[in-house]
Symmetry: C2
Amino acid sequence: MVNIPDWLYEFHGHKCPFVVMGYRMGARALSELGVSRAHNHEMFVFSEMGVGHPQGCLQDGIQAATSATFGKGQMHKLFYGKIAAVFYYPGKTPLRIALKNEFSDRLAPHEFFRLRKQGVEPSEVPAEIANNIVNVVLSAKDKELFNLKELPDFSFRPVKGSFNKAKCEVCGEYVFERYLRRRDGKLVCIPCSGQESAEHTIYLPLK
Amino acid sequence: MVNIPDWLYEFHGHKCPFVVMGYRMGARALSELGVSRAHNHEMFVFSEMGVGHPQGCLQDGIQAATSATFGKGQMHKLFYGKIAAVFYYPGKTPLRIALKNEFSDRLAPHEFFRLRKQGVEPSEVPAEIANNIVNVVLSAKDKELFNLKELPDFSFRPVKGSFNKAKCEVCGEYVFERYLRRRDGKLVCIPCSGQESAEHTIYLPLK
């Protein structure tokens, strides 16, 4: 049985199989790449998950195992709707890890998912059912869980950080310089500029 | 002195003032909205942070305090380059919390930032210096830290979840149905379709 830290469920908000699977995927990535937890900005993760499918919990497990977090700008989405992620560590060959179909098929008939499909929220699933499915994930062998593939052509160049900031001349709030705009001769933030940010995440909501 | 969980730094990867500030911002949001940690998908956070400024660590603190995580699809970015976030909880008035300029100014001359600007990575900052700046954040009063503003017109409709998936008829991997495409009469994943995902995050890298 693989060990996971007690705080994983507190951070994530509930106990579910995908946060545990993500933790195992992240731990496997560190081990395959021969690196340790990203204390600073060493590694980047490109999750193939999208929106509108509950398995995104996987990504919290990856954050927790690797510290390649969203906050530090190391966790990105590719929006492919797949239970897979690419681990990019400069100087190492990029590695894609995907959940095996066979393992998805093995979990699918579990009572946990029957309840979830009925609309039961994860935190409301009875503890013995959640514990049972989590133990299925924790006790699986790595080779039952994952397909690994090296992606030597995958490349990424992170944005260079800067501490430079200035106050918006309209609202007075500090703004990091990348996001300062000019309007009516003043240096302003994006909301005060009337522009939209050139950087954003495009989701296409289901109507 | 405000209490934070021991695991915050392990999750985040290092000890820094912004992850602590984010934790306090998230905790304040829960308290102001009168809600508890988001065990499922109750709350959404729209961070005004962007890329290319190191203060993004704030967002990991918010994730840790609220469980409105990136993995569960509850943490989004507005790309304004501001140390602020909007907390959206259906049924409550949306709340914006921003760091006060005065507190930024108070932290700025600290040895921690002098070292960071010299290129010292957060985990390499001597412990006594990191502890000192973190204690400045932990011992500050809420009113010294944050400006709060209700945003009654802020609205958001989350994407409805679905468990439906099918195997890509080319690569054989499972794909959630929102991301299935059609090519040559086959049902395929986005990479096998030759298309790009219609959903993505636009960053404009600094050259």
